[in-house]
């Protein structure tokens, strides 16, 4: 793996937008990894929560776009609760999903619900998941 690190206008724009949307500053993260150690979904992820923040710090938007992590976050705030800096990583994921929507990225839609689940799912689940992941 090799990468030519570039923090140019586009990268800065991306980083600034994430900061704006979350009202925080991703550079506050010093990569202790406690979010990942706390995350109940870490086992399913291709990028751990701390790596998502790292990628934002480095302006590597492209690497995040395809990551499963964005749709594995259930906003349980375990990461934020134990983060020594109190960074809301669920909000960072939400911000990134939001930024990807105009680029045509749709993470989930009403048609994606499995028909056999549709009749048993509690209402709040459908509302929540639609709100979180749909365009």
């Amino acid at each position: 793996m090799r990468v030519k690190l570039k923090i140019g206008e586009n990268e800065k724009k991306f980083i600034n937008r994430v900061n704006e949307l979350t009202g925080d500053n991703v550079y506050r993260c010093y990569q202790c990894g406690r979010c990942s150690a706390s995350c109940p979904m870490a086992q399913e992820m291709d990028l751990l929560p701390n790596q998502i923040i790292r990628k934002v710090q480095m302006g590597q938007e492209e690497d995040i776009i395809g990551s499963k992590t964005l749709t594995l976050c259930a906003s349980c705030f375990a990461c934020q609760g134990r983060c020594p800096k109190g960074i809301d990583i669920a909000a960072v994921c939400e911000a990134i999903r939001h930024l990807l929507e105009p680029k045509g990225k749709d993470f989930w839609g009403p048609d994606d619900v499995q028909p056999e689940l549709a009749k048993e799912l509690p209402q709040q689940v459908l509302v929540a998941v639609y709100k979180k992941f749909a365009k």
Binding site: E94, A128, K132
Partner: protein
């Protein structure tokens, strides 16, 4: 006593056992639950980013309705609704920008007055003055656990309960937490007050998989299984909770957990209000126990307790 109560949409449909047991229990505590006129869904999830302001409209509208009806408090049992209402309320208190924008939007909202049936518009700003309480907080702070204990009619000491908080009652700490997020005791104190045997277990604040059970159903088996298994390993015979979504993941989906974890042979899950109503002497039929996938009825030893009820009554 009369208090505003926001049930939320799930309680009217899939979680009627939570709704019914809540009403049954509160009636026995002489508390009249008043639903705000014309309430809607709260939105289930609080918007985490600043630009998604529309997510604040439904909860603030509900809270404002409570205020119009001269309520100073609103009680919820659903942990999701609780978190959304509480965070929205806090935003109205602490965030001047959101306060202005949401109120501007709601100023032209139309509402039918509950008494005069007149259409109203041009409302004054909602300033976050309604107190949002989870029922556990209401029981602790308004009813009083000592008083509650004195009203208990049945012996529940044989029920070994693992209290499951999940995420929404405890995090984010500064905005919603009803107790310390790492070492909470409010649920335990409540269970002790109604006479259950409390079982401490390390997964009480770990996530159950939440709404991923809709978008990626296979992923929520493991977190839910770990919670149930931990409760069992620590000697509980039931998990108690307050969230219809956690209930769905941990009870309704138990057949799918069994498919993945062959050694798992089921574990009962209850709403805390079912235990409360039962302790206060409610009829077993009112608790909606037949809705559970893993049958909890063996825990409700009706024969033994019926006599106690009569004696106490």
């Amino acid at each position: 006593m009369r208090v505003h109560y926001y049930p939320g949409c799930t309680l009217k449909e899939k979680a009627t056992n939570l709704e019914d047991s809540t009403r049954e229990a509160m009636a026995r505590l002489d508390t009249d639950l008043v639903e705000p006129e014309g309430w809607t869904c709260c939105g289930a999830e609080y918007p985490l980013i600043t630009e998604k302001i529309h997510g604040l409209i439904p909860p603030v509208r509900i809270l404002r309705q409570v205020e119009i009806e001269e309520g100073s408090k609103v009680v919820t049992t659903c942990a999701f609704c609780f978190a959304v209402l509480k965070r929205a309320n806090k935003a109205m208190l602490d965030n001047p920008t959101l306060h202005t924008r949401v109120n501007e939007y709601l100023a032209d909202d139309i509402l039918i007055d509950p008494t005069t049936k007149e259409k109203r518009t041009h409302f004054e700003s909602y300033n976050g003055d309604v107190q949002v309480l989870h029922l556990l907080e209401y029981l602790r702070d308004e009813v009083g656990l000592g008083h509650l204990k004195s009203l208990v009619k049945r012996d529940l000491s044989h029920i070994k309960v693992a209290p499951y908080y999940g995420c929404r009652l405890l995090r984010p700490q500064k905005e919603v937490a009803i107790d310390d997020p790492e070492t909470p005791t409010i649920f335990e104190d409540f269970l002790n007050a109604i006479g259950c045997t409390v079982v401490d277990f390390p997964f009480k604040q770990e996530c159950c998989g939440s709404y991923l059970s809709a978008s990626m159903p296979e992923t929520s088996n493991e977190p839910s299984y770990r919670v149930l298994n931990s409760a069992k390993m620590n000697g509980a015979n039931v998990v108690a909770l307050s969230c219809p979504l956690c209930y769905y993941n941990m009870d309704t989906r138990q057949d799918r957990i069994k498919e993945e974890y062959l050694e798992f042979n089921g574990f009962p899950v209850l709403y805390f209000t079912q235990l409360l109503a039962w302790a206060l002497g409610a009829d077993v039929e009112t608790l909606g126990l037949d809705k559970h996938l893993c049958d909890p009825r063996p825990l409700f030893d009706i024969k033994q307790n019926a006599e106690d009820v009569e004696v106490n009554l």
